[in-house]
């Protein structure tokens, strides 16, 4: 027997014959995590709601923009008639004070806007951050200095002040686009910094050297060798950035620079409902709960993803 033959018992036991990629392993670990799956279920539910919004509103028969004067009390400054903010067969989750618009329809359409803005803003910041961070970490030197300074600069901006200032001086144009641009534009340095750090660490890994010795160059090293190995932290960041962006959208709405009326977004609904929390708590609770659940769900998923990627901290 020579050492050239494959050692029979060498394969670490417990593995199926087909190879399982690290991403599969992570996913398997996440799948076993009950809280993560709860989070995922909530996310899927809201995404479904957002996608099927027209169908759902067709079911209850109220468009998110229809006024229903009969549902509010004209003499009482427009408080919804009936208990629980007008909850009933006609309006499933009650109506908006003053206008009498259907809260369910607005929530459903609001999910679209809120998820759209936060997810797109996250995608934008992750894309920019990943590309620039990778370049900075990989190229080093002059490019790194330039990109890092840019990131420092952007991170030194008092973001919230600047966001509302920027948005409020640009009244023209599509608010959703503007919100995405501003949130993405101020968000990418945070991704960029993570990616840069990771790229710098990965750049000197032996497998990158090995690829280079094997003849790989430039983009191939960046995107085939390095990027797959830093997607995990990026993914974690993205999952945690989405709830943060939902929160920012809501905060901007709260400060009066959210989406344009009559478009509904959760943040804008909460901002409106805040004044009514005493006379019409339902109006406040519904979007608040949705926002809270979504943020919580994304956070749970992100946490679990992080633990799955780096199980060290979780070991007893």
């Amino acid at each position: 027997m020579t050492s050239l033959t494959a050692p029979a018992a060498a394969r670490p036991p417990g593995h199926a014959a087909a190879g399982r990629s690290p991403s599969r392993l992570i996913w398997d670990r996440v799948r076993r995590d009950r809280t993560a799956m709860t989070g995922l279920a909530i996310i899927v539910l809201f995404v479904l709601i957002a996608v099927t919004a027209p169908l759902l509103t067709a079911l209850n028969g109220w468009s998110p923009y229809d006024f229903d004067p009969s549902a509010v009390d004209q003499r009482l400054a427009g408080v919804p008639k009936g208990a629980l903010g007008g909850v009933g067969a006609e309006h499933w989750l009650g109506v908006e004070p003053v206008s009498g618009r259907d809260v369910f329809s607005r929530i459903v359409y609001g999910a679209r806007i809120s998820l759209l803005i936060s997810v797109t803003a996250t995608v934008v910041s992750v894309l920019i951050g990943t590309v620039l961070g990778l370049l900075a970490g990989y190229l080093g030197g002059w490019a790194d200095a330039a990109i890092s300074r840019l990131m420092d600069l952007l991170m030194s901006f008092p973001a919230l002040i600047f966001m509302i200032a920027l948005i409020s001086v640009m009244p023209e144009g599509d608010r959703v686009l503007l919100l995405v641009a501003v949130m993405g534009g101020f968000g990418w340095p945070y991704v960029g910094r993570i990616v840069r750090g990771q790229a710098m660490a990965v750049r000197h890994r032996e497998y990158v050297d090995a690829a280079r010795v094997g003849g790989a160059m430039g983009a191939s090293i960046l995107f085939r060798e390095m990027l797959p190995n830093i997607t995990a932290p990026i993914l974690v960041y993205a999952t945690l950035a989405i709830p943060a962006n939902i929160g920012t959208e809501a905060a901007l709405s709260f400060l009066g620079v959210g989406v344009r009326p009559p478009t509904a977004s959760w943040g804008q609904m909460i901002q409106e409902s805040m004044m009514w929390y005493e006379v019409d708590p339902m109006y406040f609770i519904v979007p608040g709960t949705c926002l809270f659940l979504t943020v919580l769900a994304f956070t749970l998923l992100g946490d679990s993803l992080r633990d799955a990627i780096d199980p060290k901290g979780g070991r007893a």
Binding site: Y65, D66, F67, P69, V72, D73, Q74, R75, L76, A77, G78, V79, P97, V98, S99, S168, P171, E172, G256, R260, P261, P262, M274, M275, W276, E278, V279, D280
Partner: protein, 534 residues
């Protein structure tokens, strides 16, 4: 008028002394009498800090629109057919430091309103005074010749044209005295020198203003101001919903507090179902008219039929709900508020409150419109109501909320004026002359910073009629003529009057003498407020 003023409409308060707290969600834009031309602020300044040549009685309702002499001994003497006005100051008038108030101080303040360093104030002096075309204010030492002060107590104004209502004009803070010695340019705003019953003890802008008694103010010379509290503290920059809550609760210090700014719709919803709180709600008709304007200079609203279509389609009741319901606003049917048209609302079209969709559709003739509408950020609910009601007839409205501070610039730039926008007008004093000429005289349109005639309405017949009415010396006849002109303009609908609203204000349980003054758009008359003690 609907709302019942809270504490026994303007009768004498129970006593003097104590501290009155005013809760405000804002800072003054200007307290400098030269620059103070925003509604509740004018009331505050004139009633507490400075006196003008004439002023209005401290009474609710129609009584409040009656003019009385203030610094002057009478309402002024016109001569040369109303082109020259002479006033004589009372004797014994003093500033807060005891120095006497002289006629030149009034002249000096009027001159200040010409200074580009001190913009923002009423422009009547510029409009009326003769020979002032190139005058740039007194800060660089130049004086205006058309105001004469032959002696310390006499002041003579020489006007470009006869102004019958000049006695009313001089109620404006422009006609309060400012001593030259106290000139501080822009900074005068932060510490105006008092000629009224109170003086400024401290003013932390945006946070707190504390007024204490001006010992040199002589009640004997002042028939109007009661000046009951010893001290008045204004808390600024609070959230309106917090102000509402505090005054609903009316606990502790808040019992002697009043709200400076309007109760929110949500606040009203809390107030209205509770009789004991509702009793403390002051809601005087503001005297202003809310309107929705069109850009008549460009398509589609250069066509009066399109404007009328909107007029017919509007659901004014929905707007009314957004304003707090029928208790808080009346549906407007003419530009001039009832107070200016003899107390009688006029109605040209006789439309149902929710609009007439069929007529509107007929006017549109099957056309659908796609228009932009600018509203200020606070009027979102209103904008949405417009949006929703016009959708019924196939007009799609895109809302463009703009911050109040830049609102007038946006619509006042004729190049940028949107197809539709909201607008409101309050008379500076109860006269059609401070209303229709400002709003509908095509000759006042300027390219940028356009104000009043923001719809760019040009009609030769209307302009001619305005000139005729302004030349009338009989104020009664003039009033009737204004009302008639109003109906004429209504027929071409450059703007849709929507609501005559009330100013909803809450006062604490320990506040006396609270009533909304008709001249100052329903704001509390600060000169009559008192607090219960003990």
């Amino acid at each position: 008028g609907g709302g019942t003023p809270a504490s026994s409409g303007g009768t004498a308060a129970t006593g003097e002394g104590g501290t009155l707290t005013i809760l405000s969600n804002q800072d003054f834009s200007h307290l400098d009498p030269t620059r103070n031309w925003t509604m509740p602020h004018m009331d505050f300044g004139i009633r507490l800090l400075y006196r003008t040549l004439t002023t209005f009685k401290a009474e609710p309702g129609a009584g409040g629109t009656r003019l009385v002499p203030d610094l002057a001994t009478d309402l002024g003497t016109p001569s040369e057919g109303g082109k020259v006005w002479t006033f004589t100051l009372k004797s014994g008038l003093k500033y807060e430091d005891g120095t006497p108030i002289v006629a030149d101080d009034v002249k000096y303040n009027v001159e200040r309103s010409f200074a580009p360093e001190l913009p923002g104030g009423p422009n009547y002096a510029q409009l009326y005074l003769a020979g002032a075309e190139h005058y740039k204010g007194p800060l660089k030492g130049e004086r205006l010749k058309s105001i004469e002060t032959p002696d310390e107590r006499t002041i003579v104004f020489r006007l470009k044209r006869p102004v019958a209502e000049f006695s009313y004009t001089v109620t404006l803070p422009t006609f309060a005295p400012v001593p030259k010695a106290k000139e501080a340019g822009e900074q005068y705003d932060n510490r105006p020198f008092s000629s009224g019953p109170y003086k400024i003890q401290s003013y932390d802008r945006g946070k707190e203003l504390v007024l204490v008694r001006n010992a040199n103010w002589d009640p004997a010379t002042d028939p109007v101001r009661k000046a009951y509290p010893d001290k008045i503290v204004m808390k600024q920059g609070l959230r309106q919903s917090v102000i509402d809550d505090r005054l609903i609760d009316s606990r502790g210090e808040d019992a002697t507090a009043v709200s400076y700014s309007d109760v929110t719709a949500a606040g009203l919803a809390k107030v209205l179902p509770r009789p004991e709180v509702k009793a403390r709600l002051v809601s005087e008709i503001s005297g202003c008219t809310d309107m929705i304007g069109f850009n008549t200079a460009k398509a589609p609203f250069d066509d009066p039929r399109m404007r009328q279509a909107v007029h017919f389609a509007l659901d004014k009741q929905a707007l009314q709900t957004a304003q707090g319901g029928p208790g808080m606003a009346e549906i407007a049917t003419s530009y001039l508020p009832p107070a200016l048209s003899g107390g009688q609302a006029q109605d040209v079209y006789g439309l149902p409150p929710t609009g007439d969709v069929e007529k509107a559709k007929a006017l549109l003739g099957g056309r659908t419109l796609d228009v932009a509408m600018t509203v200020s950020t606070g009027e979102k609910a209103l904008g949405e109501a417009v949006q929703s009601s016009l959708k019924r007839v196939g007009i799609t409205v895109t809302l463009n909320p703009v911050d109040p501070s830049v609102y007038y610039d946006t619509i006042g730039d004729t190049a940028k004026t949107p197809e539709m926008f909201t607008y409101g007008w309050c008379p500076d004093y109860p006269s059609g002359a401070t209303f229709l000429p400002m709003l509908f005289d095509g000759r006042t349109i300027v390219e940028k910073g356009n104000s009043g005639n923001v719809w760019q309405f040009r009609d030769k017949a209307v302009e001619a009629r305005i000139d005729e009415i302004q030349a009338m010396t009989d104020t009664g006849a003039a009033a009737a003529a204004w009302a008639e002109l109003d109906q004429l303009i209504m027929r071409s609908s450059p703007a849709v009057p929507t609501l005559w609203d009330k100013k909803p204000l809450l006062v604490g349980t320990g506040v006396t003498g609270a009533f909304g003054h008709p001249v100052w758009s329903g704001q509390l008359d600060f000169s009559a407020l008192g607090v219960k003690q003990g």
